[in-house]
């Protein structure tokens, strides 16, 4: 029943925003909304590994970029079917290419998921700062590979001419917004399901004490691989439509510091122990950054993120959700009748007295 409310409320909120933006007739809202939703997906993906398992990933931008560049590669393939495919396959290639955005998202997810799996294998024995450094190194290695891969534009970057219109909706950005909205709901649903499942408990034990987890029968290595793969795949899925959104993709923008920093800051500010945290953090920071971009300058965005992160680490290290949990723990008694606070806590899986 709780899942039903979750899906209905997600679709309602997204649908209302979509209708409102269409009613205003201003495409900027869709551009801004797309960016915010993209950060919801990235923050949620980061939180699967960083929040649930306690493995801090500084290489989010690399997973995001792998998704984006997988779309660029497929776009290039579609543009040069005669050149890149043997004669016997040209007909088939022309039939399936160019791929639509949902298929590109799946493909981007597979590519980044595999990169995540590989990262997991290579860093199985690393923890804490060492794991974080390894993910940072991964981002540098992958960026170097992309810079030197001419097929996807190398350091020059690649232009993607997106279609001007789509059937029914009309504007292509509205279509991209809807796709990202669905992806955000999927990411949040995945995080929510994980959190309430056996897998989520396994992740929590890895975060708290890996040796004790092993002693309790938790297959920590296997679960870490699942987490790195899932987190990577979701980040790649967030990146796959990006070339169609931005129109021109270059390595320095795809692997930009903003993605890595925001992916970490948003869950940290929102709270890492629940799926609600990354959502709250991404909405808060994403909207503030969008407002700052149009009122001051986009150059100030990282400064805002940095200041907020420092502030939250000092004042509320468990994030906004941590503050809410403490508030509810004081009020919502285990013995008494359920209150609106305890109902909210159960809905958001923020059980008082527990995680």
């Amino acid at each position: 029943m709780r899942a039903f409310y979750f899906y209905v409320s997600s679709i309602l909120v997204g649908g209302l925003f979509f209708a409102f933006a269409r009613w205003l007739g201003n495409d900027y809202l869709f551009f801004a909304g797309y960016t915010v939703l993209q950060f919801v997906v990235l923050a949620t993906a980061w939180n699967i590994l960083g929040g649930y398992c306690g493995y801090v990933n500084f290489g989010s931008a690399a997973f995001f970029a792998m998704g984006a560049y997988s779309s660029v590669a497929l776009h290039k393939l579609a543009a040069g079917v005669d050149r890149y495919f043997p004669e016997s396959l040209v007909g088939f290639a022309k039939l399936i290419l160019p791929l639509n955005i949902p298929t590109l998202i799946i493909f981007g997810g597979i590519v980044s998921g595999l990169v995540g799996l590989g990262t997991g294998y290579l860093t199985l024995r690393l923890r804490g700062a060492f794991f974080a450094i390894a993910t940072l190194a991964l981002a540098v290695v992958l960026q170097t590979l992309i810079v030197n891969w001419d097929f996807v534009g190398g350091s020059r970057g690649a232009y993607i001419i997106r279609p001007g219109e789509v059937p029914i909706l009309g504007s292509y950005i509205q279509y991209l917004f809807l796709v990202m909205l669905v992806l955000a709901v999927v990411a949040l649903a995945a995080a929510r399901i994980i959190e309430q499942s056996r897998l989520g408990y396994g992740f929590a034990t890895i975060r708290d004490d890996e040796m004790a987890a092993e002693a309790c029968g938790v297959p920590t290595l296997k679960l870490k691989l699942i987490a790195t793969t899932m987190s990577g795949a979701l980040m790649g899925m967030a990146g796959a439509p990006f070339p169609y959104y931005i129109g021109y993709l270059e390595p320095s923008s795809a692997f930009g510091l903003a993605y890595a920093v925001n992916s970490i800051a948003m869950p940290m500010i929102g709270g890492t122990t629940s799926w609600v945290g990354p959502l709250v953090g991404a909405l808060l920071l994403g909207i503030i950054q969008q407002i700052a971009t149009v009122t001051i300058s986009s150059a100030i965005n990282l400064l805002i993120v940095g200041l907020l992160l420092v502030g939250f680490v000092i004042v509320a290290p468990k994030g906004i959700i941590g503050l809410v949990q403490d508030f509810m723990r004081e009020r919502a008694s285990d013995k008494g009748q359920p209150t609106w606070r305890s109902r909210l806590a159960i809905f958001a899986n923020m059980r008082p007295g527990a995680r």
Binding site: Y201, G202, A213, C216
Partner: protein
């Protein structure tokens, strides 16, 4: 004599140039209560870690319930019925007491029973385990709200939740008062009466003597004595190791 539940054969472990375990042989019978003692640095915890898979032995082998355990990770050994508690309690700090007990139930109960427990069965078992160690009233509390003795009890209950054939209690009474030590000894004996074989590693001799049916003594990575507690404590080498000669 019955086939031993645990058979440690010529076990060896080094840390660089330091020999932590040197050819340890040990056989533990099903249902037995074994005490394992030795001065600090004698290799007790290393032996436990090698048996449980936290460390991998370099020589020799560990056979448990008729199966070779060498090379298996700790979680697989737990699945096969070998559970342990830690010298310093290691609860999952963000999970409540009940959730701490739920973890082994979620990850091991199916491995021998062949199926996952239903939600209701899991809750009932959690409740039963919390009751067994007297933590039922604190089932929804976080570990930080527990006292030292309650933390030790949680550690033992969590090990029991894996439904083990062998429980290794590594210094489960360190830092406790006399009455608390008695509580833990009684609890371990109760667990043993339920059919669980127990190895108790301990420094508190009163507890060791009250609990053990057999006593093994390690000194500098070697086994120097193995036998009935009263005989072992009178062994000249054991007295020498503890009092110095």
């Amino acid at each position: 004599m019955a086939e031993p539940l645990l058979h440690v054969d010529n076990l060896g472990k080094r840390f660089g140039g330091f020999v932590a375990l040197d050819g340890i042989n040990l056989a533990v019978q099903p249902g037995e209560r074994l005490g394992l003692i030795g001065p600090n640095g004698s290799g007790k915890s290393t032996l436990v870690n090698c048996m449980c898979g936290t460390l991998q032995n370099e020589t020799g082998s560990v056979r448990f319930d008729g199966q070779i355990m060498d090379g298996l990770p700790a979680n697989k050994r737990t699945h096969r019925g070998m559970a342990r508690s830690f010298q310093l309690p290691r609860p999952f700090v963000t999970l409540s007491v009940a959730e701490n007990l739920r973890i082994p139930l979620l990850f091991t109960a199916h491995s021998r029973g062949g199926r996952h427990l239903s939600k209701e069965e899991t809750e009932n078992r959690c409740h039963e385990l919390a009751g067994l160690v007297g933590l039922a009233a604190k089932a929804n509390k976080l570990p930080r709200d527990l006292t030292q003795v309650e933390m030790r009890k949680l550690e033992l209950a969590r090990a029991m939740a894996a439904d083990p054939k062998l429980l290794i209690a590594d210094e489960a009474m360190a830092g406790l008062s006399q009455s608390e030590v008695d509580e833990i000894v009684a609890l371990l004996i109760k667990m043993n009466e339920r059919g669980v074989t127990i190895i108790m590693i301990e420094h508190i001799m009163r507890a060791v003597m009250a609990f053990s049916q057999r006593l093994v003594v390690l000194v500098t990575g070697k086994k120097i004595a193995d036998g009935p507690p009263q005989e072992v404590v009178g062994h000249p080498e054991v007295i020498g190791a503890y009092l110095g000669q």
